[in-house]
Amino acid sequence: MFQISLGAKRYDVIVIGGGPAGATAALYAARAGLATLVIDKGLTAGALGTTGNIVNYPGVPGPISGAELVRRIREQAASFGAEFVNDRALRAELAGPDKKIWGGQGVYTGRAVIIATGALGRTQHIPGEERLLGRGVSYCATCDGAFFRERQVAVAGNNDEAAEEALTLTRFASTVHFLSPTPVLQASPHLAGELRSHPRVVFYPAARLREIIGTERVEMVRFTSEGKEQTIPVEGVFIYLQGNLPITDFLEGQLPTSEGGCLLVDEHFQTAIPGVFAAGDVLCRHLKQAVIAAAEGAQAAMAVDRYLHGREKLRPDWSK
């Protein structure tokens, strides 16, 4: 994996995840005057982004799509100065006063971090995935795509992120075998359309990736598509599958979790590491309720503000 340093910008707070919790945290942090960066995988990468008709978000009669609701919160956060980068957190170094987050596009530095990555993580690895990670298995086409010039690769996933990463890979790979776990792509129509009509993409509907095969490096993938088993030769496998686990893999065990893998926080949403906070579904409290996630994000951001300003207590005013 190669990294580009993104200049020397040091943010007050880095929010990982731009769903209702992360975007609301960004709104509150930016409005409080904090230099705020949101690292996010795209509008429809999270649980809310793939939800249709929402009618119970208070104040928004709806029905409104989850993606639109998230878009509005992000626009609001951006209007107060929050920056957004389309990237994926791959690794983090959280101890000390400067927290570093490695993404596909570079390293981000912040004085505080709010983890709002949600709970669409996978429960299980594919056989061969862990063993061949970094040897053909990757989660980041932007980082590793160039290694697969004129080679065959497979992409497993069905959302916007998977579609975008596959399209990135078409710039390098000779063929991109796209394994969609669902019969129809769940990506936004323009991405799905572009992917389906791309001459270098072969689309496999209702595909289940069974095994990644190779001794030193990835050599083949075995999968079923519409019930039929196939094995095809590839040199790279890019995985964007979703499950229902809190997404904490990039933390590599730096933070304590419950048995179910949920991040543990105190009453002010701070984790065991000072300056590192968490909110939303990654805490597994009230899954998939946008207003509750948003409420947690607001509280985490106010707690970050207090942490950075070393305040005795939060401002007790209710502000507008």
């Binding site: 928004v60 509005r72 009230h286 509750i292 409420a295 607001a298 401002r315 007790p316 507008k320």
Partner: protein, 339 residues
């Protein structure tokens, strides 16, 4: 009290008012019609609970008296407070909640179902969500009570209009004081913000806006000792806490933003309250009385944000629903825990 300055966005006039002595039984009675109570009603309605909301006389709660709400998520251009209140009310009603512009005067959490006595009727609830919110704190100085509503106010949105080309004093140094002070410059000739400390407590964004506003001046390290007037307010006597010097500032109106107090008088002796009078609850919004839940500012001295109140309302409603599933028969509900 805010109720004296009723500019509610929408009066609730239910098609079927309560009959005299009515004893309607509800799955859930929500006390309070602000963001917490109404979000609870939206969630309860979705869960098909028979729900009554006693909104009190300011349906929509504090947002109804707020000029602009900038930080309620999903409103990128901000939203007028009364409009946000209207949206909350409309949504709660659409999900089937009955909304009454009435309020509890006495509650009994020792009986099952719980008994809620209002000005007009008595209702029974298998569960209750307390979301009565907070009211502005008073200064407690001579003249304050006498002139309340005649020059003394805690609602710029309601009363600002009366001060066109006049001078007003705003007491306080937090977000509310500055936000309302800025709002008052639309009408007033000059706004004097009086704050007892030598620095403001408000968020940077409000401080910057207030400092940039030519109509606003500050009297820091200064307390109001008396509100003066004849028929209406004509001045305040202030004292500089550092020099001890006392003087009179001429003004036509006084707006007080020195914090909030929880509305929990009705629950004394029944619900566990903390030293400041806020309802004590766990993270699931449960009180010491099984079946009675709490949401919003009445249990939150710290954050006091519309979205945080709404989130707690959603949790309280989901917990009430869960409770009703566990105890379908009210007579088997567990009793209160000792205070």
């Amino acid at each position: 009290m805010l109720e004296l300055h009723l500019t509610a966005p929408e009066r609730e006039s239910p098609a079927s008012g309560p009959e005299a002595g009515e004893t309607g039984l509800y799955d859930l009675i929500v006390l309070g019609g602000g963001p917490a109570g109404l979000t609870a009603a939206i969630y309860a309605g979705r869960a098909r609970l028979k729900t009554l909301v006693l909104t009190g006389y300011l349906p929509g709660g504090q947002p109804a008296n707020t000029d602009v709400v900038e930080n309620f998520p999903a409103f990128p251009d901000g939203v007028a407070g009364p409009e946000l209140a209207r949206l909350f009310l409309q949504q709660a009603r659409r999900f089937g909640a009955r909304l009454e512009t009435d309020e509890a005067v006495r509650v009994d959490f020792s009986t099952r179902p719980f008994a809620i006595h209002t000005h007009k009727a008595t209702y029974q609830g298998r569960t209750v969500i307390v979301a009565t919110g907070v009211v502005p704190r008073r200064l407690g100085v001579p003249g304050e009570d006498r002139f309340f509503g005649r020059g003394v106010s805690s609602c710029a949105t309601c009363d600002g209009f009366f001060y066109r080309d006049r001078d007003v004093v705003v007491v306080g140094g937090g977000d509310s004081a500055l936000a309302e002070g800025i709002f008052l410059t639309r009408f007033a000739r000059q706004v004097t913000i009086v704050h007892r400390r030598d620095e403001l407590r408000a968020t940077k964004i409000y401080q910057e806006r207030a400092f940039a506003n030519p109509k606003i001046r500050f009297l820091l390290s200064t307390v109001v000792e008396e509100i003066l007037g004849d028929q209406t307010v004509n001045g305040v006597r202030v004292r500089n806490v550092k020099t001890g010097e006392s003087r009179i500032v001429e003004t036509d109106g006084v707006f007080i933003y020195v914090g909030m107090e929880p509305r929990t008088e009705l629950f004394v002796g029944q619900l566990e309250l903390n030293e400041q009078g806020y309802v004590v609850s766990d993270r699931r919004q449960r009180t010491n009385v099984p079946g009675v839940f709490v949401a919003g500012d009445v249990q939150d001295p710290l954050y006091r944000q519309i979205v945080v109140a709404a989130g707690s309302g959603a949790i309280a409603a989901m917990e009430a629903e869960k409770f009703l599933g566990e105890y379908p028969d009210v007579s088997n509900q567990p009793g209160s825990k000792a205070l």
